[in-house]
């Protein structure tokens, strides 16, 4: 039996996963950085 796969589905799946993964990693890192620096500045002001 010859299995016919739509190759573009695999290409789009890989693309979406990497784009989302990269954006989430960058966003998470930036948010964590801003949160930590704000907390440090707040502790310094006290």
């Amino acid at each position: 039996m010859h299995e016919r796969l739509d190759q573009w589905e695999f290409v789009w799946a890989a693309l979406v996963i990497v784009v989302i993964g990269t954006v989430v990693m960058v966003g998470w890192s930036l948010i964590a950085m801003v949160h930590a620096e704000r907390r440090r500045d707040a502790v310094r002001r006290k």
Binding site: Q7, A14, I17, V18, M25, S29, M33, H35
Partner: protein, 242 residues
């Protein structure tokens, strides 16, 4: 090198370095992927799935580069006691693990239509999966060591030693397709030459550069985060001790 050991000097550099790395990195990486997906011709054997090359290869390279960063930083921390080296190693762990996971996922997606299987326990895939587990172990060790250091302990060197020992996996991953029979293809890009046509090679290299800049930006952001956490804990400890 110790001229950059001052956290205040590093933070002054990091403030402008972060956007300088991040913006061109995102433009180059997503632009190269878009170019490759839209304009690179299908391969005569793999068809359009060859376009996953522009996504999978940079992720794998950065997964390995992340652990290499940890290993080099660990050497600097252990030998020269550079105060920012341990922080750099910890900062590289999460993006390295993320790119390793993305490399495994995209490789599996590429393998299904190309090899007829999502996974095979050959040398390349298995050693790369081991790398992901090594990252998890390093992240857990580094977190535990930081908590121990905050409490006055001396476990700070253990993550660095783990980072050095784990580095043995990098040449194993690199040579696995040469040493063992594997479904994975042999190396196409080696020192000084490439077996890949220019229509694939140039977007691949531009995409790899873009993702590398993004990796650098995330490392800088996480170093700033870790430094801020350490400075906060130190100040709270000084206040608690009066």
């Amino acid at each position: 090198m110790h001229g950059f050991a001052n956290p205040a000097r590093f933070l002054r550099i990091a403030r402008w370095l972060l956007p300088v790395l991040l913006v061109p990195g995102l433009v180059l990486s997503f632009g190269a992927i878009a170019w490759g997906v839209a304009f690179a011709p299908p391969d005569h054997l793999m068809g359009v799935t060859v376009k996953i090359l522009f996504i999978h290869v940079p992720c794998v390279w950065l997964g390995m580069a992340g652990w290499s960063t940890i290993a080099v930083s660990s050497v600097v921390e252990l030998v020269w006691r550079h105060p920012l080296a341990g922080i750099a190693a910890r900062a590289a762990a999460v993006p390295g693990a993320v790119f390793t996971a993305l490399g495994l996922i995209t490789g599996s997606i590429w393998g299904r239509p190309t090899w007829g299987t999502w996974w095979v326990w050959d040398g390349r895939l298995t050693s790369f999966l081991v790398l992901l587990f090594l990252y998890f172990g390093y992240i857990a060790l580094a977190d535990a060591a930081q908590r121990d250091a905050a409490g006055g302990g001396s476990a700070g060197r253990i993550p660095a030693i783990f980072g050095l020992v784990g580095a043995i996996n990098i040449p194993i991953i690199n040579r696995s397709v040469v040493w063992w029979n594997s479904l994975h293809q042999p190396p196409s890009i080696t020192m000084g030459r490439s077996a890949i046509d220019g229509t694939y090679l140039y977007p691949l290299l531009i995409g790899a550069l873009g993702f590398s800049l993004v990796f650098g930006a995330v490392v800088v952001a996480r170093m700033r985060m870790l430094l801020a956490q350490i400075q906060t804990e130190a100040r709270l400890r000084r206040k608690a001790l009066g």
